[in-house]
């Protein structure tokens, strides 16, 4: 109705400074916490998308299984050029397409061994891979190593080369220039052994980099004795990752139209489908389309965990805040009984009184949550800039990064501010209703 109501609200808040300050502080802190948790969750998602789309998946993957006999399955697609062509011609919002080979091996060094998923990559056709993968300092993985990067990503063009990650280098006790023996099982069940040379060691990218190694495509083809028109997966990158799901649907229809046999969509990474597909009763080629999220669905628990903890934490804080607001408002209403009676007598309607008290809470709510929201954004940005190292390796693996990344989205700050302002408003509703229901007669004559 008029600015005088804001003035009354503001001045009443200033009048009881201590109470306002404590309540405002609490509100600001909770909002700050919410913004930071959202930033953490967002940061995790971004880190995960980055790792996933670098290491193991395109935004959309056109992969599949080839069954040469009834109780086996190979994670590969034949006729890669035809598939690439279909994808290139039919993907709305396409950025680029690459294809990678897939394999599974035991990798042996002089002193140790490990299991690893092999990825055959054409490093020249994937400039973005080089932008995301960072090479590690030698000292990061080797006792007494130099504090500099040795090895080059480009050397992955050379036949029988391999890129491994720092944790693997430590475990296998190898460095750039050392040899590894890769042992695989071919389609017809024969063992095949190949010697490769480590040409680069990359910084860890979390859990997934523990079991990923990159080799030139041709090396993989040779190991498995495959024709050059086969591949593991055609990886499709879009301009907007948010479109992935929709575009996958479009591509499925296109492939069905062209007579390809498709597996039902199963939101799991390809290596979790082996067993099932091996037991299925068909032969030949089937395509399997997935989006990036499917390929890292086994990490979903990380988000569930973070969100559950956040949810409980915020829930408890919220209850405390609501109780605090209600309590303080009841006190304020009681203290101002006579004032309410007076202004009701003078002619303020009930809803005016209701509005007056709620406005006070809303003013406090908006100011405090805005301050808290901005503080949360500032702290998140500062933490992200600092990128504190994550000390515990298990946590590193879960975070899929050795650095903590927080991402602040303006929309999330606004959501947090609006949400907590609304909570403040709702919490003030009961006390305000109580004030509005007071009878002017009783109120005027009350003491105080």
């Amino acid at each position: 109705m008029n600015t005088v109501y804001f003035e009354i609200a503001a001045r009443n808040l200033l009048q009881s400074k201590r109470r306002t300050f404590l309540l405002g502080l609490a509100l600001a802190l909770v909002t700050m916490l919410l913004v930071m948790l959202l930033a953490l969750s967002q940061g995790l998602t971004e880190t995960m998308i980055r790792s996933a789309t670098t290491l193991s998946a395109g935004h959309i993957n056109v992969a599949g299984f080839y069954k040469a006999n009834a109780n086996d399955a190979a994670p590969m697609v034949t006729n890669v050029d035809a598939i690439r062509k279909i994808v290139e011609e039919n993907t709305p919002g396409l950025d680029y397409v690459v294809d990678r080979h897939r394999g599974w091996a035991r990798v042996v060094s002089e002193s140790s061994s490990t299991q690893a998923g092999l990825t055959g990559i054409d490093i020249r056709s994937e400039p973005r891979f080089g932008q995301t993968i960072q090479l590690a300092l030698e000292s990061d993985y080797k006792e007494g190593g130099r504090a500099e990067v040795v090895g080059r990503l480009e050397d992955l063009e050379q036949p029988d080369s391999v890129l491994i990650f720092a944790a693997q280098a430590k475990r296998l006790e190898v460095g750039v220039g050392d040899a590894l023996t890769v042992i695989i099982e071919t389609l017809n069940g024969a063992r095949n052994t190949t010697d490769v040379t480590v040409v680069a060691v990359a910084k860890d990218l979390g859990m997934m980099s523990n079991w990923s190694m990159f080799l030139p495509k041709q090396t993989i083809l040779d190991m498995y004795r495959l024709k050059s028109d086969t591949t593991g997966a055609v990886m499709v990158y879009l301009k907007d990752i948010e479109e992935s799901e929709k575009v996958m649907g479009t591509l499925r229809e296109v492939f069905v139209d062209r007579g390809y046999v498709l597996m039902d969509h199963d939101p799991q990474p390809f290596w979790m489908k082996f067993e099932r597909v091996s037991g299925e009763d068909w032969l030949g080629q089937k395509l399997d389309l997935t989006i990036w999220r499917d390929e890292v669905s086994f990490l979903e628990f990380v988000f569930t965990a973070v969100n559950t903890v956040s949810f409980f934490l915020l829930g408890i804080l919220l209850v405390i805040i609501v109780v605090g607001i209600m309590n303080s408002m009841y006190m304020s209403v009681r203290e101002r009984t006579r004032e309410v009676g007076t202004i009701r007598a003078i002619g303020m309607p009930k809803y005016g009184v209701l509005g007056m008290f709620m406005l006070e809470a809303v003013v406090l709510g908006i100011v405090a949550t805005t301050v808290g929201g901005l503080m949360g954004a500032a702290f998140s940005a500062a933490i992200d800039a600092w990128a504190p190292p994550v000390p515990v390796e298990a946590v590193q693996a879960i975070l899929m990064s050795d650095r903590l990344h927080l991402a602040v989205r303006p929309g999330q700050i606004i959501t947090a501010i609006v949400a907590f302002s609304l909570v403040t408003m709702l919490a003030s509703l009961w006390p305000a209703l109580k004030a509005a229901k007071m009878q002017p007669v009783d109120a005027i004559h009350s003491a105080g």
Binding site: M1, N2, V4, E7, I8, R11, N12, Q15, R338, E339, G341, T342, I343, R344, A345, I346, G347, M348, P349, K350, G352, Q439, P440, V441, I444, H445
Partner: protein
């Protein structure tokens, strides 16, 4: 013209535990426009109860209370509130100003509730009213920076700024020393004369009573006597000089 207040056989009962207190037991009263009436009587006699009924902050248990032609027992809270806002001004025993607002804002408040005036118009009205109660120098002070007498003047300004037909004051001088109290009554009297606003106030101070043009005595919830004071029997004609002489401090 119909009287501004018409009360007919009004009974007001309050529940008190299992008992019922009869605060008013059949009151008839009619007050004309422009009167300057006091309700007098001992403590507990029903003065406040009667004023509450006239002020539309309460409705009678039985009987009729008519304000400017409207019977209050037929009205809902919303309509009673409107009636109070537009026709009645209140002055309270303990001033009851809004403590966080300054003098100007306190006086402006009812105008804001009424709406309809521009900021300029409101400012003019408020300044004019504040000038009439002699507080222009204190315009931007808060209630706690004012003396009791000054606060009650602010209350008078607030009650009158909307130009109500009726102003009610329940023991407006009870919290003031006698000199200040009399000055307040004089100020009210002056406003009564200038604006021809009807005033009804309660008191049990004989010195204050003297200044009324009509004294209604109630005892035990009944009207005991109702007299028009001789030398003030013609309220509108008489006041001027005397009131002004005392109002200017």
């Amino acid at each position: 013209m119909a009287p501004i207040v018409r009360i007919e056989n009004v009974v007001k009962e309050y529940p008190l535990g299992n008992l019922v207190v009869r605060a008013l037991q059949g009151v008839d009263l009619s007050i004309d426009r422009g009167e300057f009436t006091t309700i007098a009587g001992p403590s507990g006699s029903g003065k406040t109860t009667l004023l509450n009924l006239i002020g539309c902050v309460d409705v009678p248990t039985s009987g009729v209370v008519e304000i400017d032609g409207d019977s209050t027992s037929k009205l809902h809270d919303k309509e009673l509130t409107r009636l109070r806002l537009h026709k009645i001004g209140f002055i309270f025993q303990s001033f009851n100003l809004v403590s966080v607002l300054d003098l100007f804002q306190n006086v402006e408040f009812p105008l804001l509730l009424q709406g309809g005036l521009t900021k300029k118009e409101r400012e003019l009205r408020v300044r004019d009213m504040v000038d009439k109660v002699g507080l222009t120098p204190q315009l931007r002070q808060r209630p706690n920076e004012l003396s009791g007498g000054q606060r009650q003047r602010v209350a008078i300004a607030r009650a009158l700024v909307t130009k109500p037909k009726l102003v009610l004051a329940d023991e407006p001088t009870a919290n003031l020393d006698s000199v200040t109290g009399l000055a307040i009554i004089e100020l009210m009297r002056e406003m009564n004369a200038k604006e021809s606003t009807t005033f009804i106030f309660s008191t049990h101070d004989p010195k204050v009573m003297e200044h009324a043009s009509r004294i209604v005595h109630i005892v035990d919830g009944r009207i005991h006597s109702d007299e028009r004071t001789d030398f003030l029997s013609s309220p509108l004609a008489e006041t001027g000089g005397r009131a002004e002489a005392q109002a200017a401090p």
